[in-house]
Amino acid sequence: MIAIKNVSKHYGSFQVLSECSTQVAKGEVIVVCGPSGSGKSTLIKCVNGLEPFQSGEIIVNGISVGDPKTNLPKLRAHVGMVFQNFELFPHMSVTDNLALAQVKVLGRSREEAVQRGHQLLERVGLLAQAEKFPGQLSGGQQQRVAIARALSMDPICMLFDEPTSALDPEMVKEVLDVMVGLAQEGMTMMVVTHEMGFARRVAHRVIFMDQGRIVEDAPKEDFFGAPRSERAQLFLSKILQH
């Protein structure tokens, strides 16, 4: 579904990604972790072409993201993305946040889009909030709306960039529960997170990044059993203490 081959990216002389390679098969859930500044967000944004990269290749569903001829909006329409800070559109009601791209990008009628949106709101337990505005919701609720918004485009895979790290602790679970549900339904997911509980429950593989490199890319059991690199061991021991 997603193949990342030798991807490198630099800002001026600063190397953000060096020779990153991995792949995500259909139905697979991959967790990406690593210290702050290691390039996790950059890598995940390269997957749907939000960040350009200078060398290497990324293939999503058979389409090369870096190819200048690729119709990126069309590709992105079917790659869902969830951000750390939710990024709902504050001037639109929850319903309109969900309907906008369905209408403008997929060409659905407004009725169809609202209906699909409401189905997904029900699924994330927020149908009652449909007419509210993002600013009237808690962080956990906003993130669940953001997940529903991404799902409303019927994505073939989902990218998450630290979806719970801006949340108060008591709201983390409600968002993770939605994500676990998605994973169990077989959604292809690439998730940047430090929630190792989530990784243990549903991840197939765990990737550890450090200084722009993929240092470790191992099946979950191996990663938690005995990470091969010292950096990963150190990182794990630090975050598991919390």
């Binding site: 944004k45 749907n48 951000f83 559109f89 504050p90 001037h91 791209a101 993002p134 009237q136």
Partner: protein, 244 residues
């Protein structure tokens, strides 16, 4: 001192007898209003377009918009007006230039002043629009693009509605400035409100009545613009944002 107040001066006929001094003032007011509103329309359209271009990834487009701002913000308004009115018609191809100079001189004054004020204010609007867009979280643009919206759609539906809400207060002051700046049009002979006020001073011995009338009219315009903008701000307030 013994100044002789005479508010009745406005009712008395002008030398030609075709109207009263009040008629002059009203026609000046109409000119000021028409000039300011049409220039504001130009400023909003050009300023918004250029403001967007200043924030796009394409360097050429962003550079074009930056050049526009530098040019129109840094040349004094009066000089710009003279260029539009006196110089540019001479630079037109002969046929076109002659045709333009053959039109009603009042129209030429109005057009020159309108385009001049519009583009001058547009450069200032451009900078407000740019700062409005740049004040939004970067993630908003990513969110629009990630949903499959094109860059123009992302601006249209996600970025600009918030950016414009944020910049209503500075745009209000630009809108007010345009009324004040419209008075420079009198230097090329356009009889807007301030010019009519000066005419009244020249023809009657009642300068204070004239100045007071002009001042009060500008103050009333200010008050109207301010309340319209407050109304706009209240109408477009986002539920759940700060202050609600």
């Amino acid at each position: 001192m013994g100044y002789h107040w005479n508010w009745g001066v406005f009712a008395s006929p002008v030398p030609s007898g075709e109207t009263s001094y009040l008629g002059w003032m009203i026609s000046g007011f109409e000119t000021t209003l028409a000039l300011s509103l049409s220039a504001w329309l130009i400023a909003l359209v050009i300023g918004s377009g250029m403001g967007v271009l200043r924030t796009v990834p394409n360097r050429w487009l962003a550079g074009l918009a930056a050049a526009y701002v530098e040019l129109f913000r840094n040349i004094p308004l009066l000089v710009q007006l003279f260029i539009w009115y006196f110089v540019l018609p001479e630079l037109l191809p002969a046929g076109l230039g002659d045709a333009y100079k053959g039109t009603n001189p009042l129209l030429q004054q109005f057009v020159a002043a309108m385009v001049c004020l519009g583009l001058f204010t547009g450069a200032r609007v451009c900078e407000q629009v740019r700062s409005g867009i740049n004040s939004l979280p970067r993630g908003q643009k990513y969110a629009g693009l990630a949903l499959g919206l094109t860059l123009p759609q992302t601006y249209r539906y996600a970025l600009l509605p918030m950016a414009f809400r944020i910049i209503v207060p500075p745009l209000t002051s630009e809108f007010l400035n345009i009324f004040k700046n419209s008075a420079v049009a009198s230097t090329i002979g356009l009889l807007e409100l301030a010019a009519q006020g000066r005419q009244l001073v020249d023809y009657t011995a009642q300068p204070y009545e004239s100045f007071i009338a002009v001042t009060l009219t500008f103050m009333a315009l200010n008050a109207i613009v301010m309340s319209l903008m407050h109304l706009l701000e209240a109408r477009t307030r986002v539920p759940g944002s700060m202050g609600t």
